[in-house]
């Protein structure tokens, strides 16, 4: 798993920036930006799952949406299966949509309340294929089978389902056009723990069956450990570390990753009491006004002088392992 050089890059993101402008004052002048995603680069290889973790508000979801061009990125290039879509117009993007899809966090809000399951799943088919009515219905049933939904429910409305079933509808919808790449934006965060496992297992099964590639966004470190092949850690709009799963969980390089992993709850009571946790102090700085130098320098337990003035480069510190920290450059 460490060596990816022989595998195809399916998605390649470089220098992605997503700034949301702030307008203040009487004349609503542009006075600053919320730097939700600030110069992020990563590759996703065909057939793998890249986990994207970080705390709330660090820009994970924004990053996922910007990659799919559900936002208008401020800067950067996004290469999707050989096509550059970073600057494409909405019209040019539409034929690309069957290639890339998204599973959303809130399965209730992400389904149109006035459409039945068959309408929701069938709409992309109607838009992008010229299947006949019966063929379309057959495909809808096929998709419902694939995600484990009873065919009899095809003509029901989303509010008549439970949370886990709704997320299955969302997944069936995403699968409708045989995509290669799916962004899962915290697909399990709104579900009960028992249902979480079902949905994650379903995602894994579908990956094997259809050869899907996932960008799996989550704040649940143990779930990401379960599903991801490689993991990227985000802090304040930047990726601080990107490494294969086992390497990252066993030997985190970046001080933020270390602190994040030490915060994972320990089920064993004795180990829990003796665990040495890195407790970060202070709050995450505002993304509209990030600190000078390294973004993490205000809270880093191992901060150096140069961290406050010089921004660390995001570079390969070991084969296949990337991090942005001055300590690792010494």
């Amino acid at each position: 798993m460490l060596d990816h050089s022989d595998r195809n890059k399916l998605v390649s993101v470089s220098g992605l920036k997503m700034y949301f402008p702030i307008h203040t004052g009487l004349m609503q002048r542009h006075t600053g930006d919320v730097k939700a995603v600030d110069d992020v680069s990563f590759d996703i290889f065909e057939g793998e799952t890249l986990g994207l973790v970080g705390e709330s508000g660090c820009g994970k979801s924004t990053c996922g949406r910007a990659v799919l061009r559900l936002y208008e990125p401020t800067e950067g290039s996004i290469n999707m299966g050989g096509t550059e879509i970073g600057k494409s117009t909405p019209r040019e993007l539409r034929p690309m949509r069957p290639f890339m899809q998204m599973v959303f966090q809130d399965p209730q809000a992400s389904l149109n309340p006035r459409m039945t399951v068959a309408d929701i799943v069938g709409e992309p088919l109607q838009e992008h294929t010229d299947l006949k009515r019966e063929d379309r219905l057959a495909r809808i049933y096929e998709l419902m089978d694939a995600v484990g939904l009873n065919r009899d429910f095809a003509h029901r409305y989303p509010h008549e389902f439970s949370g886990g079933q709704r997320q299955r509808i969302g997944i069936a919808r995403a699968l409708a056009l045989n995509p290669k790449f799916i962004v899962c934006d915290e697909p399990i965060a709104a579900l009960d723990v028992s249902i979480q496992a079902q949905v994650v297992n379903l995602l894994e099964d579908l990956q094997k069956e259809f050869g899907l590639t996932y960008l799996f966004i989550s704040h649940d470190l143990s779930m990401v450990r379960h599903i991801a092949d490689r993991v990227a850690v985000m802090y304040l709009g930047k990726i601080v570390e990107l490494a294969p799963r086992d390497g990252l969980y066993d030997d985190p390089k970046h001080p933020y990753t270390q602190a994040l992993l030490s915060a994972v709850p320990e089920p064993d009571p004795t180990a829990h009491d003796s665990a040495e946790r890195t407790i970060l102090t202070g709050d995450v700085p505002s993304p509209s006004n990030p600190p000078q130098g390294c973004n993490f320098c205000t809270r880093c337990p191992q901060v150096l002088d140069r961290c406050r003035s010089e921004e660390p480069e995001f570079r390969e510190v070991e084969p296949g392992r990337f991090a942005a920290c001055h300590r690792l450059n010494e």
Binding site: Q28, R65, L68, L70, P90, L93, R94, P95, M96, R97, P98, Q101, M102, F104, Q105, D106, A109, S110, L111, N112, P113, R114, E123, P124, E127, H128, Y157, H159, G170, R173, A174
Partner: protein, 336 residues
């Protein structure tokens, strides 16, 4: 849905009876006197006789009972007889008669209704047709110059009363520019294109005055409702499906946004009948509003009572229609 509707209709009966009692008592407490406009030389005894001949010497509960019987039994039978030509019973039943004109109130209303429906109804339709696109575009381009302008105009239309805009329109377009007549001629008959053009010219001012008022109200609702839906996740889902922006906005967002707007529109329909009283007065449209004002001035209690009761009935009815529409449009709402 059907049992719900039937239940609501049954509940409406005591509601309407209670409303009619309230209206009756308010009119009885009001200091208006049907003989007040008669010459002062008429001696008090004669006045008392006139009042007695109108039935005003009876105590209030007997008058109310008689009115109920008259309105809910005699008048409907009269109406059915008129429509079908059949006759029930030998003798002719008494009618609810206007004290001012001596003609049956129902006939008066039947004469005045078409004018009101034409002028005020058209203005309501025009208002909706203006309001929906403005609301949609304002929400889609929130804080753009179009949105700001729309907000300004609708605030203006909302806060400036129609008796002011009506007079202002007359001063500008009738007096200064001389484009349109200031009085609506209800006897005008459309026979050819020229007379149709005259009709357009005389209807345009009352329709625009009322339409502006209605449009400003509905466009605010439309905009707010669109904004509610535009930021929903399912809109992002629709974009992720690769639908065109037109389909996303007009099918997904607009259809969901119309749910509250349709109920607001339905709730506004009774105002079409009653709410244009002042505008009808300004443009001399002799519709229901005009009739009501005249009846109030003349102390014509049967006419006032009948008209206000019809307005109350329409409000109750359209409340029910709005609720049923909500149930039809929104699959999440089930009444049974």
């Amino acid at each position: 849905m059907l049992t719900y509707t039937i239940r609501r209709l049954l509940i409406a009966i005591p509601t309407l009876l209670f409303i009619s009692l309230i209206i009756f008592l308010i009119l009885d407490l009001a200091p208006s006197d049907p003989t007040a406009s008669l010459p002062l030389t008429i001696p008090p005894e004669v006045r008392a006789e006139i009042r007695a001949s109108l039935g005003l010497d009876e105590p209030v509960h007997i008058r109310f009972g008689l009115w109920l019987y008259q309105f809910f039994v005699n008048e409907p039978i009269n109406l059915i007889e008129q429509w079908t030509g059949a006759s029930f019973g030998e003798e002719s039943r008494p009618r609810v008669v206007s004290w001012q004109t001596r003609s049956p109130v129902v006939d008066l209303i039947a004469q005045r209704m078409p004018q009101t429906l034409w002028v005020v109804g058209t203005s309501y339709v025009v208002g909706i047709l203006i309001a929906v696109p403005i609301g949609v575009i304002s929400a889609y381009r929130q804080y753009s110059w179009f949105d700001q302008l729309g907000t300004f105009i609708s605030m203006l239309g909302f806060s400036v009363p129609t008796f002011f805009t009506g007079v202002l329109f007359i001063v500008i377009f009738s007096v200064q520019l001389g484009w349109f007549p200031s009085v609506y001629d209800t006897t005008h008959v459309v026979t050819d294109f020229a007379s149709f053009w005259v009709q357009i010219k005389q209807i345009i001012m009352p329709v625009m005055v009322l339409g502006l008022f209605n449009a400003s109200q509905i466009s605010r609702f439309m905009r707010a409702s669109m904004l509610d839906n535009l930021n929903q996740d399912y809109v992002r889902t629709a974009r992720a499906k690769g639908l065109s922006e037109q389909v996303v906005v007009l099918v997904h967002v607009l259809r969901n946004s119309m749910i509250p707007v349709v109920t607001v529109i339905a709730l506004g329909v009774p105002q079409v009948f009653g709410g244009a009283i002042i505008t009808e007065q300004v443009f001399k449209v002799n519709g229901l509003g005009h009739l009501l004002i005249g009846a109030i001035q003349g102390g014509d209690i049967p006419t006032v009572q009948t008209l206000t009761f019809i307005f109350a009935f329409l409000i109750v009815l359209f409340n029910l229609i709005a609720d049923v529409l909500y149930g039809i449009l929104d699959p999440r709402i089930r009444y049974d």
